[in-house]
């Protein structure tokens, strides 16, 4: 199997990922067994295309910090108290229901991130945009998304160089404990704003050059012409398979025991 196929119809991969993420989101709180099933399916698919589950699991951790948002309900819900007591001056209680909600959200986020990592391993960014265009994403959006992806690394690299130059000019903290900071906050913000402004001007003149180049080749504004890959002949059967997958996961959520 050839991974990251450029110019292949990525619709099946995109649909599968969206359906999978939706099915996972639909699982009720506490359905750890169904989540385990979802994770098993995902890691198995990953292993089939040569991605180790450990790699997926690590990439999934990026969503971890967001769990802070769910922390309050662990302590503030009043049902299924697991523990109540005082820590120093605070009276605290831990709610089993709150814990379940937080843990479920965390696991769902972790699994869903892995699903989109897998999508990216199967389909290149341009082929994802093409697939979305085939799925009736408006032309303005797909063209500008395609260009954003194309120029992303270029401009990020430019930004990185500007930041390095700024550091060299020491508008950032210096010293052992980074305790010396130049200027006032407003001055530092203006320095940064000037960088943003000049990056905009560079991006703008680049856009002008691209526009001229495109116009001189006869482009009319949409860059999405003539790049459609051959349609996946087995798309229908794959979509049916995806629906079965969603059904299995939803049934698992309904029928498997929850804690």
């Amino acid at each position: 199997m050839e991974p990251r196929g450029v110019g292949r119809d990525a619709r099946a991969a995109v649909i599968t990922t969206l359906a999978f993420v939706t099915a996972v989101a639909l699982l009720p709180p506490g359905s750890y067994l169904a989540l385990l099933l979802a994770w098993l399916l995902l890691t198995f698919a990953g292993a089939l295309v040569g991605i180790s589950p450990g790699h997926l699991a690590r990439r999934g951790l990026v969503a971890l910090p967001f769990v802070v948002a769910a922390v309050p309900i662990i302590f503030l819900r009043n049902d299924e108290l697991l523990w109540a007591g005082s820590v120093g001056p605070l009276t605290l209680q831990i709610s089993g229901a709150g814990l379940r909600i937080a843990l479920t959200a965390l696991l769902k986020a972790w699994i869903s991130v892995q699903a989109s990592v897998l999508l990216l391993a199967l389909a290149s960014p341009p082929s994802i945009v093409t697939a979305l265009r085939r799925m009736r994403l408006p032309d303005v959006i797909s063209t500008s998304a395609g260009l954003t992806i194309r120029y992303l690394e270029l401009l990020r690299d430019e930004a990185r160089r500007m930041l390095r130059a700024r550091t060299a000019r020491s508008a950032s903290p210096v010293g052992v404990g980074r305790e010396r900071i130049g200027g006032t906050i407003a001055w530092r913000a203006r320095t940064t704003g000037n960088l943003v402004g000049s990056l905009f001007l560079r991006a703008y003149s680049r856009a002008q050059r691209i526009e001229e180049a495109a116009a001189s080749r006869g482009a009319t504004g949409s860059l999405s012409v003539g790049t459609m890959p051959v349609a996946d002949p087995r798309l229908t059967i794959k979509v049916v398979g995806v629906l079965v997958l969603v059904l299995v996961l939803t049934l698992a959520g309904a029928l498997l025991p929850r804690l």
């Binding site: 993420v21 198995f44 990026v62 910090p65 769902k108 401009l155 905009f200 856009a207």
Partner: protein, 317 residues
């Protein structure tokens, strides 16, 4: 590594996620229509400008400046994009950026992408840009007034977006609004200052260096005193409504909502309640949880090892 700014999947209920997908789709549809109708300014092909500026917003989000040890101000860029491209085209650019962040960088989930676009694109960019125009007009409609307006709107947009995020999380039952809202608003009131300062500085720089670009992009409007007064009253109304909305986030006021939400939860999860209170037979609740947890860990480790071998052999062949 890339910072996580957006809501991941799993933290919003499917109902709310889908509702916001619909709202976002409608507004983006309007934006697409408006953008293809407006015609164009200095650059003849708008998608090209939008695409490259999408990459610019992406890169500009890397810029930060130290505020105090450990904290830094940085840019999200919603109002900046709206000012430079116009509210509707700016909204499309931000929506595209957020979509790419979700798909390519796993920053923000896919099912909740509609919600993330609504928060940063519709509230942060569309709302923020119109607010910026309004404030700019009230302040007199000169270039510097409109830039100041953009700064004020940038602050308000960040705070409003943070408040709306918390409300969505609260409605989904994933956070407690009475604790989450003050915390989120407090943090984002500070983040918003960084956003506002960078937005003002960047626009000032562009206005000084390349006034012709800004002149083509968004000419400040001169408004009559009556209009300015009316706009001012309208903006004050919006801000006061927002403020009172957030000020009423005390536990008492939210008790009722929470109760309602409790019912909502119960009602929505009903189809899944086929085997309520299921535990592993022969064990009481706590023990079964522990046993199930241990079993889970063992299964997960086994699968990791087995599939890891499979993946290695697949990758080699």
């Amino acid at each position: 590594m890339y910072p996580q700014l957006h809501i991941p999947d799993g933290f919003l209920s499917p109902q709310i996620s889908l509702l916001l997908w619909v709202a976002t789709a409608v507004l983006i549809g309007i934006a697409v229509r408006k953008t293809s109708r407006t015609d164009v300014r200095l650059i003849a092909s708008q998608p090209i400008l939008m695409g490259v500026l999408g990459a610019f917003i992406f890169a500009a989000q890397m810029f930060n400046f130290p505020v105090a040890t450990g904290t830094s101000g940085h840019l999200l860029g919603g109002v900046l994009a709206g000012y430079l491209l116009g509210p509707w085209a700016g909204t499309i650019v931000m929506a595209t950026v957020i979509g790419i962040q979700a798909l390519l960088f796993q920053d923000g989930g896919l099912l909740v992408l509609g919600a993330n676009i609504f928060i940063m694109g519709v509230i942060g960019t569309l709302g923020g840009s119109y607010l910026a125009r309004g404030i700019g007009a009230v302040l007199g409609g000169s270039r510097s007034a409109s830039i100041l307006g953009a700064g004020a709107a940038a602050w308000l947009a960040v705070v409003a977006a943070a408040g709306f995020t918390t409300l969505l999380l609260g409605l989904s039952g994933t956070t407690d609004i009475s604790v989450g809202l003050p915390a989120m608003l407090g943090v984002h009131a500070l983040i918003g200052i960084g956003e506002a300062l960078i937005t003002v500085a960047a626009l000032t720089f562009i206005a000084q260096t390349a006034p012709d670009i800004l002149a083509g992009v968004s000419a400040p409007r001169k408004a009559s005193p009556v209009r300015r007064l009316a706009t001012g009253v309208a903006i004050a109304g919006v801000v006061a409504t927002l403020a009172s909305f957030f000020a009423s986030a005390d536990p008492d006021g939210l008790e009722a909502v929470a109760e309602e939400l409790g019912f909502l939860d119960a009602g929505l999860s009903a189809p899944f309640e086929l085997f309520p209170d299921y535990t592993i037979p022969g064990l009481d609740g706590t023990a079964s949880t522990v046993v199930a947890g241990l079993l889970g860990v063992i299964v997960v480790i086994g699968v990791l090892l087995a599939l890891g071998r499979l993946a290695r052999s697949r990758a080699k062949s």
